[in-house]
Subunit: 150 residues, 2 copies
């Protein structure tokens, strides 16, 4: 499949894949130093006495990497990957140093905009998986997608 | 108020503030190059022909900066700022170069864990505001918080 995909192309049930990226300890700590400096994200030793018991990636790091995978992946809506919001955002299990992440996306619902004739709203579940196929992050994004020009 | 706050301290209605951070065009573009390389986040000129019509921050940049503000702010749950998930995540208006962001958090619900006696679950609405007091991002986080030791 090649994009970009207009609203009319994005039928419920369609799925899209991405490439992958491995998160090493250095990348996990660097993101955390900038945006989420808590011991379970910045220091293997200090992490032992925390809820996680080990160094894990910030959930927002997992999300940022997922966004990059999506932008570089098969899901190419006309107008760009634009979300007005996200629902049901969960991190079922932590991301650990050395994990390799990829994402799978499935269209779950689509409807024309009530207020604008040039766009539609497409709900897509984006699941981020580790190298064992376990879901480390899941959410439903409400995407704004251009309608096919008449 | 000084933390850390145990589950028992976090009653619905309590509010917490953060400091602020200004996002300039360079920071917006740098985050986007790493995690969300789309024209409306990376290039003022190319952005003119997009949905936004101007350079705006990636929503995940706004989120990452909000996380940093929260970690450095008044909301200090015992055990750290740990979220099992997020609901009702919305970006009502874009963040533009030069905007100064801060966050306000309000506890909306709390309940003991059914499976573990040492933690509780606290739902908190975190609103990120610009320098005009407009909400640029809002979500409800489901926080895992330590119970007060007996």
């Amino acid at each position: 499949m090649a994009g970009p995909f207009y609203f009319e192309d994005l039928s419920p049930g369609l799925t899209f894949k991405t490439g992958s990226r491995t998160l090493d300890a250095q990348a996990i700590k660097q993101f955390a130093r900038d945006y989420d400096p808590q011991p379970f994200h910045t220091d293997e030793v200090a992490a032992k006495d925390t809820f996680f018991g080990e160094l894990v990636a910030s959930g927002w790091h997992t999300m940022a990497v997922t966004m990059r995978l999506l932008v570089d992946g098969e899901f190419k809506p006309a107008g760009g990957v634009i979300g007005g919001g996200v629902d049901e955002f969960r991190w079922p299990i932590p991301v650990r140093p050395g994990d390799t992440l990829s994402a799978v996306s499935e269209v779950v619902e689509s409807r024309p905009s009530k207020s604008r004739t040039d766009i539609g709203l497409v709900r897509v579940r984006h699941n981020t998986l580790n190298q064992r196929g376990e879901t480390v992050q899941t959410f439903i994004a409400n995407h704004v997608v251009q309608r096919r020009p008449k």
